[in-house]
């Protein structure tokens, strides 16, 4: 009998063996040392019919609790948002879902146009003229921004805030190691969390390639001295690099309007689900100056006209920056992009429009503000740790017991608490980073506050 998933019959197999001059399939494995081979059958349950397998998998999956059953307050770089049904529907179209990298514009106009629109939407959102077709995630965008700053300025020092995701920092350190880029941290004000401007002024010098800040910061508060920081960076000829959660730009000033030369960020919240932390979508945009444009990493899609001038067309442009043309002299190792996630982001942004994005950002921020206010009334809870305006995330300190204890107790009551910060910021004591979005209902927020109160009152 032919195996249902292995379509070679015994005759076909014997024929292949004869062609190879072998008598048994086992002979193909003879190079593997016998001590590495399992000498018994695999310990698997008996085969099941398809329906039984489906039922089994469903029963295993039913242990997973969706957001609606167990609200989560985890953010920290990957944020849960509602993904409209038609966004999912459009990215599921086979033309997008299975399309190959668009090296042949004559067969890829749909994907190229979608990516061009993604770039245009990102550029408009961050207030700059150029955006690439995406990097892998915020962290790779940061690494690339540091290297780009160094190439543009011919300098080797990159300044960043002490308050940054340590995962992101570790990717940046990887990027910096090869070309010997010096990474310099600037401390923060313990009261407000804001970048220490005096220290920054002392550290920015003639060898500074770029000054990086995040707004909102990794710990949720807004960086209020953006104009001063831009001025400090530019006064020494360094580039000003800003990292963002793009949803926040529904409310906040576009970084391009306060002097950013490069804007990066995490595009996942734009229409991409939280799925075990990925896939993610690195945003990367810069000013439209030649000296920057030529050093831009990654794929770039352009709009052009057909030879007869009648039709509009799209194609990859400035490919001489990229690996398939320039090899080791390319501006980046990333010569692909997160195409499907970028298409989702484009559909999402086009759906919401400026007003929708503003309303969304308002709800996210209002939820955080409400939750902070409610939690701050609980004995043993200090929230937020920094006296600054916040967007949709904030820090919470537990003064009576550890965050891991609190989170374990909350889990029993049907809530995922915040992200513990002990490993990343031991100086903040027992603290967690909490996130709210439009997914949190008033009942979710009140229920969470009640659960925290019960745990703390023990």
């Amino acid at each position: 009998m032919v195996h249902p998933y292995i379509p070679n019959s015994r005759e076909t197999r014997d024929q292949m063996l004869r062609e190879m001059g072998l008598s048994d399939v086992e002979e193909l494995f003879k190079d593997i040392p016998p001590e590495l081979r399992i000498k018994r059958g695999l310990d698997l349950p008996p085969a099941m019919p398809e329906l039984a397998v489906v039922n089994h998998v469903k029963s295993v999956l039913s242990k997973n609790l969706p957001f609606t059953k167990m609200p989560s307050f985890l953010g920290g770089g990957v944020w849960p948002h509602y993904v409209p049904a038609h966004v999912r529907q459009i990215v599921k179209r086979a033309e997008f879902l299975t399309s190959y990298t668009p090296y042949q514009p004559e067969t890829s106009q749909g994907m190229l146009q979608a990516l061009f629109e993604f770039q245009s939407l990102v550029a408009e959102l961050v207030g700059l003229e150029v955006a690439n077709a995406s990097m892998y995630d915020w962290a790779t965008s940061l690494g690339e921004a540091a290297l780009m700053s160094a190439r543009v300025t011919g300098r080797s020092k990159f300044i960043l805030p002490k308050i940054i995701s340590k995962d992101r920092l570790s990717v940046l350190e990887n990027y910096a190691a090869g070309p010997s880029l010096e990474l310099v941290e600037v401390d923060y004000d313990r009261e407000t969390g804001q970048v220490d401007l005096d220290q920054l002024a002392r550290k920015v010098d003639d060898n500074t390639a770029g000054v990086y800040i995040e707004n909102p910061s990794y710990l949720g508060f807004l960086e209020t001295q953006v104009d001063e920081i831009a001025e400090l960076a530019h006064s020494k000829g360094a580039l000003f690099v800003v990292g963002v959660n793009p949803i926040s730009l529904g409310l906040l000033r576009a970084p391009g309007d306060y002097g950013a030369d490069i804007v990066i960020g995490e595009g996942q919240p734009l229409g991409n689900p939280v799925s075990f932390g990925g896939p993610t979508l690195g945003i990367f945009a810069c000013r439209g100056e030649q000296r920057l444009l030529r050093q831009l990493p990654g794929r770039l899609i352009g709009m052009t006209k057909t030879v007869d001038g009648k039709d509009r067309g799209f194609c990859m442009v400035l490919q001489t920056r990229e690996q398939h043309i320039r090899r080791e002299k390319a501006t980046s190792n990333i010569c692909s992009n997160e195409a499907l996630c970028a298409v989702a982001a484009a559909v999402y942004l086009a759906t919401l429009g400026p007003r929708g994005l503003r309303e969304l950002a308002e709800v996210c921020a209002a939820n955080a503000s409400y939750l902070m206010k409610q939690l701050s009334q609980i004995e043993g809870i200090k929230v937020p740790l920094f006296k600054s305006p916040h967007f949709n995330e904030f820090t919470m300190q537990c003064t009576r017991g550890s965050i891991s204890w609190l989170n374990a107790e909350l889990l029993k009551r049907g809530f995922h608490g915040g992200k513990p910060l002990r490993r990343e910021f031991p100086e903040l004591g027992e603290a967690a980073l909490l996130c709210t979005t439009e997914l949190h209902t008033k009942e979710n927020l009140d229920g969470f506050v009640e659960a925290v109160r019960k745990v703390m009152e023990g």
């Binding site: 011919g154 030649q290 000296r291 030529r294 001489t320 320039r326 002299k329």
Partner: protein, 141 residues
């Protein structure tokens, strides 16, 4: 186009990679030759070196320390190697806006940079003069 139809200017020095060098007071001016611009085709972008960069004279094997930048045409991207060791003193920033002057005026307007040489007399001996470069082009066919 035959080799004799390319302009080879008297008084300049030439490298095998088709860079020219003009000795000025205490410094040298560098560019690419008429032959090089013709072979590249329409130049669309010139990557210039950073002022203050130290460069080494081109030799084998080539490495990054010998690079002065790159010239990009609609056909190819070619590295520009330094015909002399020294420090980049000045770059032709006009090329950023009008890279096509490399095609129209490779020996005058289209110069790439000025280098303060470290070892001029010795290194000049390793370069070709106009006559030798014309011969060199002929042999390239």
């Amino acid at each position: 186009m035959g080799a004799s139809e390319y302009e080879v200017r008297e008084g300049l020095f030439y490298s095998k990679e088709h860079e020219w060098l003009k000795v000025e007071k205490g410094q040298v001016r560098v560019g690419i030759t008429d032959y090089a611009q013709d072979k590249l085709g329409d130049v669309v972008y010139v990557e210039l070196p950073v002022v203050g960069r130290k460069v080494k004279q081109i030799g084998e094997p080539k490495n990054r320390d010998m690079e002065l930048g790159a010239v990009e045409s609609v056909k190819a991207v070619s590295t520009v190697y330094s015909p002399i060791s020294g420090t980049v003193k000045e770059v032709n920033s006009t090329l950023q806006e009008r890279p096509e002057i490399i095609n129209t005026s490779p020996y005058d307007e289209g110069w790439i940079c000025v280098v303060v040489p470290e070892n001029l007399d010795k290194e000049l001996k390793t370069l070709m003069d106009a006559k030798a470069y014309s011969e060199y082009l002929k042999n390239l066919g």
